[in-house]
Symmetry: C2
Subunit: 156 residues, 2 copies
Amino acid sequence: MSALHDHTHCIADALTRAEALCAERGARLTALRRRVLELVWSSHRPRGAYAILEDLSQQDGKAAAPLTVYRALEFLVEQGLVHRIESLNAYVGCADPGAVHSGQFLVCEGCGDAAEIDDPRVGTAIDAAAAERGFRVQRPTVEVRGLCKSCQENPR
Amino acid sequence: MSALHDHTHCIADALTRAEALCAERGARLTALRRRVLELVWSSHRPRGAYAILEDLSQQDGKAAAPLTVYRALEFLVEQGLVHRIESLNAYVGCADPGAVHSGQFLVCEGCGDAAEIDDPRVGTAIDAAAAERGFRVQRPTVEVRGLCKSCQENPR
DNA sequence: GGACATGACGTTACTTTATAACATCGTGCC
DNA sequence: GGCACGATGTTATAAAGTAACGTCATGTCC
Ligand SMILES: [Zn+2]
Ligand SMILES: [Zn+2]
Ligand SMILES: [Zn+2]
Ligand SMILES: [Zn+2]
């Protein structure tokens, strides 16, 4: 994700879409869940549950318990509004909730951004490889570590 | 992995290859590291660091500290003898150490086995998707959850 | 052989991540 | 209002991973 973009817009957009999706589904996007979603979206870097917990304490003055955050995250993941990055134990906002997809990520070791992609070739290749072995795919996880374009151009 | 195979052979084979590879590279496969590798290979199910630690205590009578196991695992991963399954916080023996590969896994929710594959289509697709976005791949992670053939045939 | 460097291992304490069990609150429905 | 159900609060605990420092083993140089 370019460092130069209107991230306020990313956040507002994510919240709007979340409200719409939850309304449509009859899922309850409570104040807490909405706030956690907002905090997850505070950047394009995956954010750990305890980091979000700290945000809640410091920015909102509410000393929440870990479970509070984990439960909100669980809801958001179920609704496809947030993805968990397994290799980081962290969470990142979904770029396209509503669309059916499994989540494929390009995680930059430089800036920490996790760019979500949904490349049909990757999905197809996984499906084919699994099918040949008689394996029924339920949930593919693809997390690619490397260096994003801008971090290659501006190394530290 | 079929439940009906000579797993003793898997273990012996893995240990033999490990010794050969380490000798060739001048890496020190010490008694402890060899033992941890053996314990990782105790099945085709990824095994957590603390499970291995328990094995060490119970089977060998040595009350080791977590770091002991983590250090051995770190070595084994570096040497490509073991892979870490990020989505499980667990480790599994590599099916083909020596060969250059990144590790792609079909992880069965039924029996827990993690079958390692190295499907060129998956690797190629990831490379292509990354290249199009100017992303330089360093370490791809592919972990597919689902049901293996035998667990589909014999559901619980 | 002895001094030395290097890497492996031991020990203790601690941090980070995640969940269990149970109580309470809030909202909507009848 | 009374009830049901899901969301949240509270406390305690489990699981996974690391830091700091000391000691021991192995090999090298002289
Ligand atoms: Zn997504
Ligand atoms: Zn970057
Ligand atoms: Zn086997
Ligand atoms: Zn299976």
